[in-house]
Amino acid sequence: MNTNVPIFSSPVRDLPRSFEQKHLAVVDAFFQTYHVKPDFIARSPGRVNLIGEHIDYCDFSVLPLAIDVDMLCAVKILDEKNPSITLTNADPKFAQRKFDLPLDGSYMAIDPSVSEWSNYFKCGLHVAHSYLKKIAPERFNNTPLVGAQIFCQSDIPTGGGLSSAFTCAAALATIRANMGKNFDISKKDLTRITAVAEHYVGVNNGGMDQATSVYGEEDHALYVEFRPKLKATPFKFPQLKNHEISFVIANTLVKSNKFETAPTNYNLRVIEVTVAANALATRYSVALPSHKDNSNSERGNLRDFMDAYYARYENQAQPWNGDIGTGIERLLKMLQLVEESFSRKKSGFTVHEASTALNCSREEFTRDYLTTFPVRFQVLKLYQRAKHVYSESLRVLKALKMMTSATFHTDEDFFTDFGRLMNESQASCDKLYECSCIETNQICSIALANGSFGSRLTGAGWGGCTIHLVPSGANGNVEQVRKALIEKFYNVRYPDLTDEELKDAIIVSKPALGTCLYEQ
């Protein structure tokens, strides 16, 4: 588990499959831009999540896998008196950036009030810089980081974990540039430092994306747990009799910038589930611990409430260790408490009602819950959000059992059972968490009618990607699903898509290798 981030150097043969072509292309593009060859390439893959959406920032486990799309950062280290970083992006939508590094070794300023692509690089730079200050204070406390020319190229679709892959690659590149070729960083450390990177730019995400990107393994999905501590257990899909298990990924091509919509979407949901946890704690008079380090749940989360409730009323002083059996039993109990506490207020809680539920004043509630990140709302839907988090975590446990230990009478049984969980998850994301969109719902219904057993959004939602459980192999129906989606969705919704774009929009996900370095 505590293996290091792999380092490949040419001409070694065991390069990850699809890496070779992209590697040549990015080196070439680097040369076109900077007229010099890069020293190394930092690569971090995108990810999809089979099931378990919007529960990582409540510390519940998820079932993601790294996919065969990635962010490549080709880096040339510069030796300048006034070190500076020049960033060029293959995508013309992201204009070139150049900024100097503070000579006194202080942190590079990040302006969290603007939506700016290079801010994500600066987040990676920041967490790497603070990591370097810890492991080599004498070298990094008051001298600047090295300068560099960097070329970024990504084929990760929106909602495919692009921002996290970028911060991971940026952090890895910064550490490699400053510590040299022979320095090894453990996957555990890289995941830990990048998990909170995006908070500096104002997105209050959990740890799933970074963990998946770093721990990705070929032909394996991952069971990622955040408690009792961060752990990523790879597992293979079960061998069925005469079908293979495939997950088709279809991109809705609906662009929703996580940062710009954070105050009404992503960050608002983090606040809603945190308020829900504390409202339950107030109602059942249990106290939640506060995690100072992690700004998601400075005030405790829904998993904390579950542990505190069982300690107070069921004599279980030890927090839940992740065991599936007890987990299912406790999550069912939590769903019952959510009905008892919130079902009378399905229209949502106003600020006044929320502060009453938390037994504090309006001013206190505003200060404690609404000043962490910018937020805008009319009501907080505590009932729907809490119900989603607990029911989705329950589905992850059932899905994990199916993937790892359950036996199936017929292949059909596996596809039907696992598919049902995915469809329930989509319904919950759509109706309770309200993070789906019209295009996602259309794609899912078309896929389900044409050979998919389970269809749902994957990633934050509000657009982005969808994922479909489709039997493949000899008598699989991957093609049938692809054809139906092209005819009934893409040709209708996006008539003037090129073949190239169509090809990228629908891919069959093959679990890919995690973050790695490629020395030139």
Binding site: K81, N82, S84, T86, K93, F94, A95, Q96, R97, K98, F99, D100, L101, P102, L103, M108, A109, I110, D111, P112, S113, V114, S115, E116, W117, Y200, G202, E260, P263, T264, T350, V351, T366, L370, T371, T372, F373, P374, V375, R376, F377, Q378, V379
Partner: protein, 435 residues
């Protein structure tokens, strides 16, 4: 909120960077090293420091070495500095008291530098209205685009408040209350604090600095100048106690001629809105309220800006909004403004806007420089962007100029005049170019 979408805005122009000449950049101390310098660092492909001038050339040389300014030359005289063609923009970051005596000859000498396009002066642009008028005229004749550091206008909180007001989130404004603290002007004075900021006439005092920045911000947010104003200026603490760093009194008293309290009330031109303002000198010691509070009440909602100290332009504020969108109701002309998706009309919306990691001291100046480069390189590809503009007024785009500064100077002048004459003054004409 789109003025803050910058991903596609190129900050690496395929043109030479703006060459900056500093009067008053000193690596060892002062305001510019803490704010202007870090800002330029972040925009290194758009600004390049090429010239320094300070009365003692050793200071400039030391600064060039300390900051490794490879492209910068230390100039021995103001004349050589001002006439050097290696400068596109001159930044004046010296004590306000010396603005006039430096900028007037500088503009004259600069006639030998055909490349000079920008003159960037720190607020408060000279110590009196006359000096400010003269500098403004000289710069206008010289034909340079001017910039003033009323950087409160670039604060993300002020821009968000301006946006909420302009999009009808609080309906019509119907009353405003401001209470603030102005740090140094209380009962005690740190022994290291420079004498000149306690002597009236040096362009740095509670009215010019603390009130000046805040009232400019208020006018910018509400898009309105004042029509009638009344002011009462107080110097209730003619002598201050000297204290050491740890705050112990040294048993020595020193004279103070700058004011330590300002009462200001007036009405906004747009909507005859009553504005009540109280600025108190001294350490922010208020026990039961924040030391900067701006309350804006409207027919459809309330906006509140709070900070820990009375300097809105350098504080990391918190913005609170609660109200219902005015356009939820049919507009006068019958049709309905587009509603935010997913919002029920008439139901209260709550917004809290606070950026925990935002460094306001550097950040606001950085965004001021960013707006200069946006203008210079027309990074937002605005069609027929004029080569120069006289004043920002109340636009989102652009940056405040010496004309905006002049208008603010005229308001401050009328504050002192209202106090001296004991009368409520009509100031509705001070915002016209030629007075």
């Amino acid at each position: 909120m789109d003025y803050n979408k910058r991903s596609s805005v190129s900050t690496v122009p395929n043109a030479a960077p703006i060459r900056v000449g500093f009067v008053g950049l000193n690596a060892a101390k002062g305001w510019a090293i803490k704010t202007h310098y870090p800002a330029i660092l972040q925009l290194s492909s758009q600004f390049q420091i090429t010239a320094l001038y300070s009365p003692k050339i050793e200071t400039s040389i030391a600064t060039i070495q300390r900051l490794k300014l490879s492209n910068a030359t230390a100039f021995p005289t103001l004349e050589s500095f001002a006439s050097s063609s290696t400068i596109d923009m001159i930044v004046i970051a010296i004590q306000v008291a010396s603005h006039y005596e430096v900028v007037m000859p500088l503009l004259e000498f600069s006639k030998n530098n055909p490349n000079l396009k920008y003159l960037f002066v720190e607020w408060a642009l000279a110590c009196s209205l006359d000096q400010a008028e003269s500098i403004y005229k000289a710069a206008a004749e010289r034909g340079v685009q001017t910039i003033i550091s009323l950087q409160g206008r670039k604060s993300p909180y002020i821009l968000r408040a301006k946006e909420l007001i302009s999009q009808g989130y609080i309906g019509d404004i119907n009353s405003i209350e401001i209470a603030g603290n102005g740090g140094w002007y209380g009962y005690e004075r740190p022994v290291k604090s420079p004498k000149y900021i306690y002597e009236i006439g040096n362009g740095v005092d509670l009215v010019t600095t603390t009130f000046g920045h805040t009232i400019d911000i208020l006018q910018y947010m509400t898009s309105s100048y004042f029509s009638r104003i009344n002011a009462m200026v107080f110097n209730n603490i003619p002598e201050q106690e000297l204290i050491d760093e740890r705050g112990n009194r040294l048993g020595q008293r020193v004279p103070k001629t700058v004011p330590d309290h300002l009462l200001f009330q007036g009405t906004l031109l747009n909507g005859n809105v009553p504005v009540s303002c109280s600025f108190k000198g001294g350490k922010p010691t208020k026990k039961f309220t924040k030391n900067l509070v701006i309350d804006i009440h409207g027919t459809k909602g309330d906006l509140k800006l709070e900070g820990d100290a009375g300097f809105a332009e350098i504080s990391n504020l918190v913005l609170y909004y609660s109200g219902t969108r005015a356009n939820d109701f049919p507009l006068a002309n019958g049709q309905q403004a587009p509603l935010d998706p997913g919002y029920d009309a008439g139901k209260e919306i709550m917004e809290v806007y606070h950026l925990r990691n935002y460094n306001a001291i550097v950040g606001n100046i950085h965004r001021l420089y960013q707006s200069i480069s946006d203008f210079h390189f027309n990074t937002k590809k605005i069609p027929e962007l004029p080569s120069q503009f006289v004043m920002q007024g109340f636009d989102f785009e652009g940056f405040p100029t010496l004309m905006d500064a002049l208008i603010l100077h005229r308001l401050i002048e009328s504050v002192y005049k209202s106090n001296m004459m004991g009368s409520t003054l009509n100031v509705s004409n001070i915002s016209h170019y030629s007075l």
